[in-house]
Symmetry: C2
Subunit: 369 residues, 2 copies
């Protein structure tokens, strides 16, 4: 879709270059936003992530000092198609920076900002950017503050070694307590925990390695899809080890950083895995479902529908019996056999096939014989 708020042809009637150059004739300025409804057999959720808002760390001066940027902004700066055409320049005075200081774990591994988790990718992003800094500005020096360097992927350790040894990246183990301005420089004050001493680094540019957060809409989407999400807003897989791409709701799969922070190789592999799982579902003529589903005893059901309210899979509907009574009914193809309804039913009218109260009690009695 063309963004009608920005496109010059739509707003001003000028330009239209894209239409002229597109050999496939794929540009249509008259298209309107529309909601397309489709019936689908599987959903792969791959909505990605957001990044941490660095201005929450007031002591780092992001938003206050022009020369404090995030890794994402720095990435754009180093990009040939970016705002500075691939030249690394201090935003404050358009000069090349000589001392570039990186701060890791900005919004990661820090309970004080509600992010106790590791964002997984930032250590490697920092190392890459330190290497590129040296390549762009050969007489520059990079300083990288870190807690633990986390280089767990294939040849990641070697990459960190290269940054240190071949590109002179100076790793300092410690946290930064404050960044402040002195003349036209920034002073980065931290602690070198290995030497046990305070360290001040004079910086021309400070790059904050911001952590990954969940997308703002992730929780809302999860509620709509009846899948779980954790306290950080990341979507929850079926099993942390054995079902990394499945969810607890049949037919819905996860891929990429909406599940947790992960790097590109892991996201790509997970994407293929999710596709495989979706395909194995769609390639079948008939679907198998577990027989361990809930069922309602109509004679006991009083139609309060408390079960419907607690069912996480929307598997319970209201039906009217021939005698006019309204009772609950389990849609067995939708039911995942979680048993929540059986616990919620005040009259004991719902049971789980194979796990009825009587069966459970008999099993227990059998154990103690």
């Amino acid at each position: 879709m063309i963004n009608g708020d920005v496109c010059k042809f739509i707003t001003e009637g000028k330009c239209g270059t894209c239409k002229k150059v597109c050999p496939a004739g794929a540009i249509d300025f008259d298209m309107k936003d529309e909601i397309v409804e489709r019936k689908v057999g599987a959903i792969i959720v791959a909505i990605g992530n957001d990044i941490f808002d660095a201005s929450q760390y007031v002591e780092y001066g992001f938003g206050k000092y022009e020369d404090v940027v995030t890794t994402l902004q720095y990435e754009r700066m180093m990009c040939a198609s970016g705002p500075s055409h691939g030249h690394i320049l201090r935003p404050s005075n358009d000069q090349e920076p000589k001392n570039v200081v990186f701060l890791s774990c900005v919004g990661s591994r820090d309970n004080s900002v509600g992010r106790p988790y590791c964002s997984s990718v930032c250590c490697m992003v920092m190392a890459k950017q330190a290497i590129l800094t040296k390549e762009h500005v050969p007489d520059s020096t990079t300083y990288l503050f870190y807690i633990d360097v986390r280089a767990t992927g294939k040849e990641y350790e070697e990459f960190i070694d290269r940054a240190r040894e071949d590109y002179g990246a100076r790793y300092i183990r410690g946290r930064v307590s404050r960044i402040f301005k002195k003349g036209d420089k920034l002073i980065v004050r931290g602690v070198n925990t290995l030497l046990g001493e305070q360290v001040d680094v004079e910086a021309d540019l400070v790059v904050l390695s911001v952590g990954l957060t969940s997308s703002p809409g992730a929780a809302e989407l999860a509620q709509k899809l009846n899948i779980s999400y954790d306290s950080y807003g990341f979507l929850v897989e079926g099993h942390p080890k054995l079902k990394p791409v499945e969810t607890n709701t049949a037919g819905i799969f996860l891929a990429g950083t909406c599940q947790s922070p992960k790097d590109i190789p892991a996201s790509v592999a997970q994407g293929s895995a999710a596709a495989a799982k979706a395909l194995s579902l769609l390639s079948k003529d008939k679907l198998e479902s577990s027989p361990m589903v809930a069922f309602v005893n109509n004679s006991k059901c009083v139609g309060c529908l408390k079960c419907q309210k607690v069912c996480p899979y929307k598997a319970i509907e209201k039906v009217v019996l021939r005698d006019g009574r309204e009772v609950a009914n389990v849609i067995s193809s939708v039911c995942q056999g979680c048993g929540t309804c059986t616990a919620a039913c005040p009259t004991g009218a719902i049971d789980l096939n194979g796990f009825s109260d009587k069966q459970l009690i008999n099993e227990l009695e059998g154990l103690f014989v």
Copy 2:
């Protein structure tokens, strides 16, 4: 297959319990080893890994002191079906250990033993075992020597925090220089690099967190399959970011730790991804292949077959022309268009479709117009 060297029924004619209890009647003691030949359209290589031989670190006394074990041995010790029925006992005297010391990076991140890479899983294995130690022996204390704690997966950081805070795991940043015996205790001598001081820990049991290495047969297999392997013997994927499960040879895919050290969720996701790639190959009636393959100019070819020797894909065969001359011929469905043969040909008889010498020179000339 039943291991005939170990099975009591095969060696001594006794036992046979498995046959009696197997409800499916799947046990056949008369089966013999056989080589089964199959024609296959895709291969997924998932041969796993080996572990580092801890006795290479003479200073740790593995193999010399009974109470120095590897994480794998310790895992068995904690397992209910293991040799000590799930009881953690010092091998030297069958007593419960009170002080258990873990050493990380045994055969990881250490160029002196030819393993500069990070083994990726050991930090989390150590943390898990520290938690289990406390659960098995409530009055025990665990000490964990580490370089960097690498907890990059989903909720891994929280897991480490739990080990530290709820289970009292004492993390000490530093390397261990020596382990020696004092009475019936082991003294673990290391450096606490955060405090900058030597530290001696009295241990009842020392657990070496051994790194992952490639399988001994990995390189040989790679040669047989015409796929690449790195200097550590790990198999090489098609592209480190964008093709994590493919190899450079069509139809051969990788899954799990034969590619690089990785944890269970990553291995499981990669396994599904490899299955998806294999399926997408097998589900097609016709295969597409790149038209950029090599071709031989018969009039220039002198039949030296140097091209055949260098071809990594075995895509070159010898053919006899009608006039009796022997020349090279490219099997275009096998050729991957790498161009190695064109460089090796002494008479310039091989070119790559779309990349002939003339085309390349014309392109260059075009650039400088």
